[in-house]
Symmetry: C2
Subunit: 343 residues, 2 copies
DNA sequence: AGGAACATAGGAAACGTTTCCTATTTTGGA
DNA sequence: TCCAAAATAGGAAACGTTTCCTATGTTCCT
């Protein structure tokens, strides 16, 4: 059914290796013009496409890398995936996209897939699940080139990593909010059951205390970084804190921020008059909400380029150099969801 | 570095074929208990994982299917992809996800990839791009099992298809809007430059005229089905129609609806008091907008199951039976964005 | 005119599996 | 005790490429 190299060679009246050499125009391309054209014509007529599987077996590489993200439902990741797809495309490398949904079983499965030598390397975006941190070293040990995206934490990862330093963005956000008169804060993040926030909660508390905000005026709300869970959790906080209700909210991603804004709406709070909201991620949607979302953005494209470079180096390099760490800073994009503190 | 079948066999002191038979527990599994255990132990110790590429070459199949969607930035598709991933997982088949961004070049590339025999079959979601319709038959002709999702149109597709019949949802939406007193409508859709709306515009006009709405009170707005494009286009309409401004909008997907809601906000129109909005797709986000979005939902899971079945049948069946068509109806989910017509 | 250097092409092994077929040993019934 | 049948295992080819190495003509210089 499908044309093979042999078929092309036969039709062109040459040996398979000759055809192969020509089709991949290899080694100075010694073939005579007439032979070359015969082969090219035959390949075209037969609609020949080489079997990637056979190539992979022979060459020991796939020209494919994997990108594993926590959750495709968060529009941040498709944005990142697009950049990365473009970056690898330039190197003639396919990118296969997987998402774990932050579920342990799916994560296991994806790690297996990656290990099945389907890919020459893999990029893992460590979301708020701490689960796969454990496996990263294992994968690298098993010989798979790996690069990870992660939040900046105290303990460096055992693999090359592109880490996001939230300090600058946080500082800008807190400056803005405090200057606008806000004194009572809420912090919405994923914590518990295998989830961490990369010390961002601690960082937040510390920066606020430097501004003279006592820690009892900083409410930590834990949710699952999905929109529904954020709404529920924040609505509960609103109902619990009638007297000293926070006037400013920082959510650890834009989706949670949207959920919280919905909760505010349901509680009769208006944004930004009664409540100021800051998100993280700068998802495209944020600018088009009825009240456009102020958010901490990342230099996604630069981060992706760096990750791509790191992975390519790992793939091409023979030895196992020590893991490196590249740090990128966040910055605030001020939109409509932040205002002056009420009264 | 990586353990191969030979290595496992050597360590267990058996021939490779014996090891293969045991590891795949094939043909009544004749191997003696002791041999079996030795092989299993060796495989475990060496962390043996068979090379998928080699298997693919030998077996002529990949245990992998492709899913091609137009745009991952629209949260509708991740939802669909998740269902499909689960459905194929049950059959031990990997799903690789590709998106074309509705760009012609990317589409070409993806079609190539699929044809490179990386997959045993492919599911294409035909968005509003008419571009790949042309290629579907070609792919099927080339021997690739293909199933397509599409809107119900007059001309059936040359491959098995799962089509969405919008009539019922439209009828429900129009009933609701007309009963609420709306008389002037807008219809937001992707048209032009290779894009079609599957006759949904015509359908809309027809249903409205049955309700006694003259066609001059139906405004068609063309945009690119992305949030920003929808905002721009609808804002323009608002500004152009000060006198006979529409009081109800139907957008051909939820993302456009959100963009239009943003435009309404910018123009000082409030929803649903000044403008009622209905979307299509029922993306999860819709329920969590400050004004929850009324939308036409699809039985996504059932559609996915059907598509999965169709593809599996194509893959397993020898001959080339005629293309079938499975139709699914939409239904309205009423939320907050629809109200009574103003004054 | 004779050989070296070049241009052009093919033979055959290899990548890591699976599977068809054959070979050896064991079992069991008469 | 003998032979057929069952149980158990291995040999070798095959999947579709790529690549190393060798072989045949050509060209060109002396």
């Amino acid at each position: 059914m499908k044309a093979r190299l042999i078929d092309v060679a036969a039709r062109a009246g040459v040996a398979p290796n000759t055809a192969s050499t020509i089709l991949n125009n290899r080694s100075g391309s010694w073939a005579s013009k007439v032979t070359r054209e015969r082969v090219l014509k035959a390949a075209d007529e037969l609609q020949y496409r080489p079997s990637k599987a056979a190539q992979a077996v022979r060459l020991g590489r796939f020209n494919t890398v994997g990108l594993v993200v926590p959750d495709l439902h968060n529009p941040y990741y498709p944005v990142l995936a697009d950049y990365m797809k473009t970056a690898f495309q330039k190197r003639k490398i396919d990118l296969v996209l997987e998402h774990t949904g932050n579920e342990f079983e799916t994560e296991q499965l994806v790690f297996q897939t990656m290990l099945d030598r389907q890919v020459d390397g893999a990029v893992f975006y460590l979301g708020d699940s701490e689960l796969h941190r454990e496996y990263l070293g294992e994968l690298a040990q098993a010989g798979l080139p790996v690069v990870a995206f992660a939040a900046l934490t105290d303990e460096p990862l055992p693999v090359d990593s592109v880490v996001i330093d939230f300090r600058e963005g946080f500082r800008q956000a807190i400056d803005l909010l405090v200057n606008n008169g806000h004194r009572r804060f809420a912090f919405l993040s994923a914590l518990g059951k295998g989830q961490g926030d990369g010390n961002r909660g601690e960082l937040f508390k510390k920066l606020l205390s430097e501004k003279g905000i006592p820690s009892e005026d900083v409410n930590f709300v834990s949710c699952e970084h999905q929109i529904g869970s954020a709404r529920d959790a924040f609505l509960e906080l609103i109902n619990e804190t009638e007297d000293r209700r926070p006037t400013a909210l920082i959510a650890m991603n834009d989706l949670s921020a949207i959920g919280a804004m919905r909760a505010a709406k349901e509680a009769g709070l208006s944004i930004p008059d009664d409540l100021s909201v800051v998100g993280v991620d700068d998802i495209p949607l944020g600018a088009y909400l009825p009240v456009a979302l102020t958010t901490m953005a990342q230099p996604i494209e630069a981060m992706v380029l760096e990750a791509t470079d790191l992975l390519m180096k790992r793939i091409l390099k023979k030895g196992k150099p020590a893991a490196t760490q590249s740090v990128f800073s966040t910055f605030l994009k001020v939109r409509e969801s932040v205002g002056m503190a009420p009264e």
